[in-house]
Amino acid sequence: MTGWRQAGLILCASAIPGAFSAAFHPRRPGWVQDALKPGEIRLADVEGWRGTVRWVDARSNGDYDLGHAPGALHLDLLSWPAAFPLFLDQWQPGEKVVVYCGASSCHLAEEVAEKLRANGIDSVYVLQGGWEVWKARHPSQ
């Protein structure tokens, strides 16, 4: 049997467990990616950006203290009067801002993003899936 035929055999043999994974794996990906809502961004896209990203954590103070994205600023509607000036100190014009809250079901990030846009901050996005997605991607942090 030549090397090419053996390679073909390996390709076909590996497709069999791949097909089983597609049908039965508990963590199989769907064939259609979840659509983005207006203003939302996927973590994969954020990680592909050049330059720095300003992370904003819109969850509760307690959740923020338990863990947050490195360099993320805590900014929710309750802490807005005190935290927004801090945000302005750190944010550079042109810098992209990504806001997240707990999960897809949480709307705090959308509210904070909307308020940031209303205050003249451009390029504000909401992280699709929120902290759950971030945590799944960075389990050690």
Partner: protein, 159 residues
Amino acid sequence: MGVKPGSVVFRWAVRVSGFLLALAFVLAGGSKVADPAAFAEEVMRYQLVPWAGAVVVALWLPYLEILGGLGLLWRPVRAGARLVVTVLLLTFTGVLISALRRGLNLDCGCFGRLTGPTTVTQAFWRDFGLLALTAFLWAPEFAGRVRRITAAEGDKEKG
């Protein structure tokens, strides 16, 4: 002083290279099998294929890596596994070069969560090292071809 094909040192270099490559591929594939959904996201970070393509890669590639790696240890399919492993490494290196050229700032995702975060540059040099090891796998065949050609030319001269 060069190492001659057929010498003990050369044969051991081929064996060790095959074993190291097999280990790397089995570990790389095994680390991705548990969570194809997460691996599909990793593939998407390279921004080279649409989501459906990333899903196919996420479902198929881990098993291809495992079988390619194991094939290097099993003589009846070793030549095919060598081909699979080499083509995969060339593809991975091309993808990493593409990511570097586009300035993508991402974690390679090559070994799933088995290793810590690996930058594209680190992954490129690791792949380069693995490609260098594949050279040992191909060397006996090339040495054999050179011997056959030399012998054929010798026969012609005698004739």
